[in-house]
């Protein structure tokens, strides 16, 4: 603890990828920095650091959220999901990741975690999206390599696979 303005610490407890984690943070620490620097979850990438590129998108209580625009102290008591938790404990990939690999939907991969998290939230609510809807859903995620074509294809494949899995379950 300190009396210096802005440096008093706050305790944060969050369920991160299903596991409880704790930290003591100063108010200005961004969620992205807590994830990467304190908790070692470097799968969340920081691109623009002002909410334009979408690379740092994670899920906070299930909603896609730019972790460069949320302070760590704000997620106290929340559920946070990052790309590291997407595949679960199993050895394989998440179906969305599988589709990205099959369709070559990434080149440098910097934007990929943010796109995967955005699509995870989107497909949960919209299991049968059109191509246009996928493009709109991804309007907040910049990719400077692929031209988006393969990303959109992968998202459509993953949606179809999800519907099949749902139908046979």
């Amino acid at each position: 603890m300190t009396d210096r303005p802005g440096f008093a610490t706050h305790d944060v407890t969050a369920i991160v990828n299903g596991t409880e984690r704790r930290a003591r943070v100063i108010p200005r620490l961004l969620l992205a920095d807590l994830l990467r620097e304190e908790w070692g979850l470097t799968g969340t990438h920081l691109g623009c650091e002002h909410g334009a590129c979408g690379a740092c998108t994670v899920l906070v209580d299930g909603e896609p959220t730019r972790s460069c625009l949320v302070f760590a102290v704000q997620v106290d008591g929340c559920r946070v999901d990052t790309v590291e938790g997407l595949a679960g404990d199993g050895p394989g990939l998440h179906p969305l990741q599988e589709a990205f690999r099959a369709r070559h939907a990434l080149q440098c991969g910097f934007c990929t975690p943010g796109i995967l998290m955005t699509l995870t939230a989107y497909l949960r609510l919209h299991p049968a999206p059109s191509e246009t809807e996928i493009r709109e859903a991804l309007s907040g995620n910049l990719c400077r390599c692929t031209g988006y074509q393969h990303i959109v294809q992968a998202a459509l494949d993953a949606a179809a696979a999800g519907r099949e899995a749902g139908a046979s379950a």
């Binding site: 210096r4 303005p5 802005g6 440096f7 008093a8 706050h10 100063i26 108010p27 200005r28 961004l30 920095d33 650091e49 002002h50 909410g51 334009a52 979408g54 998108t57 906070v60 909603e63 896609p64 959220t65 730019r66 460069c68 625009l69 949320v70 302070f71 102290v73 704000q74 955005t118 939230a121 989107y122 493009r135 709109e136 859903a137 309007s139 907040g140 995620n141």
Partner: protein
């Protein structure tokens, strides 16, 4: 880019939030969704000494139906405009505009009150609220007051809010006429970008199809949303397409359109005329079908 240090408070009630504002005044900034404030903090365009985080004030997050209209808590997330059937039912203009407000991630976090209090001239929500003739309920530790949307927005990022005041609730009135329709149109470079220009309209017809209520707002063109005066010409008339186009042109002529990197003022005025006519047209069509 990281924000300058600040002290952080997370009140649980409106009263606690107002006490904090009274205590810290101009040093304090209210944090709602943070989709405009936090980028400005990251870039150090603003460096508030105190942040009062409203996200744990549950009372500010309610949606209520009332007398044909709506009461929206300032902390209602923007994605509720797309998802909440009560909003789509009572104020379909808001539901139409919603998908164009930023992106999936910013709508999930961004709030209705936050967008209004930020007052970006290209933002959709302030314009829609003026077109709907919404009333904003403001509070400070000493009391409360009501303010019409058109009086609340004062210009470029400027509102009627005093430093110790909080926008608590937005009252969206029910349809102003038995047959009411709305229209919304905007032009942006990419989906989700701030509009270069946009227009929204609400028209109300009586049983005979005569126009009794007409509001048109053009946004993105100047320092703030512009409530057109030209729509007065429609009152007492049956709206015809040619007449609506004429009113759209006249409304665009009222603009003090700005020029910037993205568009000249002449371009903004020309596009505004077209979008205004389109918004009025959609509104008339819907009102006639109602």
């Amino acid at each position: 880019m990281r924000p300058a240090p600040f002290d952080y408070f997370a009140p649980r009630t409106v009263e606690e939030a107002l006490d904090l504002l009274a205590r810290h005044g101009e040093d304090a900034k209210l944090l709602a969704g943070g989709q405009s404030l936090v980028p400005m903090m990251n870039m150090r365009l603003v460096r508030p000494a105190v942040i009062v985080d409203l996200n744990r004030v549950a009372a500010l997050g309610a949606v209520r139906e009332e007398a044909g209209g709506l009461r929206l808590g300032a902390l209602v997330r923007q994605h509720a405009l797309e998802r909440d059937g009560r909003i789509a039912n009572a104020a379909p203009l808001l539901a139409d505009a919603a998908p164009l407000i930023g992106h999936l991630q910013t709508r999930a976090r961004g709030t209705i009150g936050g967008s209004l209090a930020h007052a970006d001239p290209a933002a959709e929500l302030p314009a829609c609220m003026i077109a709907l003739d919404a009333v904003f309920h403001l509070r400070n530790a000493r009391g409360r007051r009501a303010c019409r949307a058109q009086d609340f927005i004062r210009g470029l990022l400027a509102t009627a809010l005093e430093p110790d005041e909080l926008l608590a609730e937005i009252e969206v009135p029910g349809p102003p006429a038995p047959r009411t329709g709305h229209g919304f149109a905007e032009v942006a470079r990419r989906h989700g970008d701030f509009a270069l220009v946009g227009a929204c309209a609400v028209l109300g017809l009586d049983a005979a199809g005569v126009c009794r209520h007409a509001r048109l707002v053009i946004f993105g063109a100047g320092d703030g949303p512009h409530l057109a005066r030209a729509t007065a010409a429609l009152l007492g008339e049956r709206p015809a397409a040619a007449r609506l186009a004429e009113v759209g042109r006249a409304a665009a002529g009222e603009l003090d359109a700005r020029a910037d990197l993205h568009a000249t003022s002449e371009y903004r005025r020309r596009v505004a005329a077209g979008l205004a006519a389109r918004a009025l047209d959609h509104a008339a069509e819907r009102a006639e079908a109602a």
